[in-house]
């Protein structure tokens, strides 16, 4: 064996070992996050944990029902606002825009997706809290919709652009106007990509805290008015985990476990509903 060959083999071995260690560290960290959240959180799960709202910090019969409702309310409202706009914007970008315009728009959307969520919170505070004079579920939803918009638009646009030109031309060739080709052919063929994009964006906003701190603020009771302060699971975790009360701290762990499982569930639902071989994380 020449010296060169031996050096090369050693380098190869070092590189292999380093990458092996790296993935091991990553998996161990991830595993311990899940493990600790599970061990710490599972004890606070009970019927009242899921069905009751906040009570006095010393009352053991309390839960996060008001926060779950707030989270679902704001996430679904955000999705309802942002989904149709995102899909239409994506259709415009992939079907109508010139290449030059599309590239600029992609750049802006990608930049928008990277804006720290606290900044989205501050902007939403200026746009939706100050003018209305109150923190509200509505303002929270708008902040989440702003976060969801670039993610879903880009994912849908990519899905549309993967649809072969032959399908569009076959649609045009039977005398369909372009908008019908976009809506009845391209959108359907790209459906799985759009659903994946939706689920990823939804999972992302479902776990957001910062934009809600500045907009929805939080609340101790069930949401009844979308123009009033509203709780969310993440806001509750944020508040309880800083509190000095043991019951609340335990509930915060339980709520963390709940969010973690929700996110895993959303990913599994995508994986199976789309029949996609990719693991989406």
């Amino acid at each position: 064996m020449t010296i060169n060959l031996r050096v090369r083999k050693i380098k190869e071995k070092i590189f292999f070992t380093l990458s092996y260690i790296s993935i091991a560290i990553t998996l161990i960290i991830l595993g311990s996050v899940i493990f600790f959240t599970f061990v710490k959180g599972i004890n606070s799960w009970s019927i009242s944990f899921f069905l009751s709202p906040q009570r006095s910090p010393l009352d053991p019969n309390q839960g996060i029902a008001h926060a779950i409702q707030g989270s679902l309310l704001m996430s679904f409202l955000a999705a309802a606002i942002s989904t149709p706009i995102s899909i239409l914007a994506a259709i415009y970008l992939s079907e109508y825009a010139s290449t030059a315009f599309r590239e600029k728009a992609e750049y802006i959307l990608d930049a928008m997706a990277g804006i720290p969520s606290i900044v989205v919170g501050v902007v939403s505070y200026l746009l939706f809290v100050l003018p209305l004079g109150t923190f509200s579920a509505f303002a929270g939803s708008m902040a989440l919709a702003i976060m969801m918009f670039p993610l879903m638009t880009r994912a849908s646009q990519d899905a549309f652009m993967r649809v072969g030109r032959e399908y569009r031309e076959a649609g045009l060739a039977v005398g369909l106007p372009k908008w019908k080709v976009s809506l009845h052919i391209v959108l359907y063929i790209a459906k799985n990509g759009v659903i994946t994009g939706f689920a990823l964006a939804f999972g992302r906003i479902f776990g957001e805290t910062a934009p809600l701190l500045m907009t929805a603020l939080g609340s101790r009771s069930f949401p009844t008015d979308i123009f009033a302060p509203t709780s969310s699971i993440t806001l509750l975790i944020y508040e309880y985990s800083k509190s000095p009360f043991e019951i609340w701290i335990n509930i915060a762990w339980g709520a963390s476990l709940f969010i973690l499982i929700m996110n895993l569930a959303i990913n599994l639902v995508i994986k199976f509903s789309v029949g996609d071989r990719r693991w989406v994380i």
């Binding site: 076959a170 039977v174 459906k191």
Partner: protein, 253 residues
Amino acid sequence: MGYIKIELDKVNAWYGDNHVLKDLSLSIFEKSVTAIIGPSGCGKSTLLRVINRLHETVEGARVSGRVLLDGKNIYDDDIDPVDIRRRIGMIFQQPVAFPHLSIYDNVAIGLKLNGFKDKAMLDKMVEESLREAALWDEVRSRLMDKGISLSGGQKQRLAIARAIALKPEVILMDEPTSSLDPVAGAKIEDLIINLKRNYTIILVTHNIQQAARVADYIAFLYMGRLIEFGPARRVLESPEIELTEKYLTGEFG
């Protein structure tokens, strides 16, 4: 020679700066098969796509000149390209079956999405179209299966049924058999010969034997120009232009 269904008058076409069709003038006779032949890249597909106004849907593509359908220029301002595409159907080289639609809906899509509602009438038109496309017997028992479950040759006949369902006057076919095996290709050729009783057909083909079998007229294109045009036998047996003869004898292509 018969009624002139389509007349091209000094047609030019571009993709950006690429000048693809050059002063092309050509008459297409009603209820006949006109084959467009010529070497790869000479502009055959572009010519078809100019005739149903699909060319202009490509970014940067342009057309000049006139294309008269029944004497009326389809590039006039008062003409909606969507109406033209209902009157002039098109079959592509790669057979297209919409993956999200059943066999039935693959045929009905043009009617349905153009506002046709009457279910009984729709059933009837789908059946007629599939019969005319010689596909009915193979699919009648599984109309609700997905269109992509069909074989290549069946998909191509499905595409023909889809075009026929709109009762077009003209059918453009861009190398409809080149992606098929010989048996499936022969079925399409038989079909073309039957269809010309009711439709005016323009067939782009690489295959000179195919042109000899099905065409009434042949147009030979070279580098975007029409080199020779005439009755099929005359062009094949005694071409007037040397370039045509060279192409037919396989000296290039």
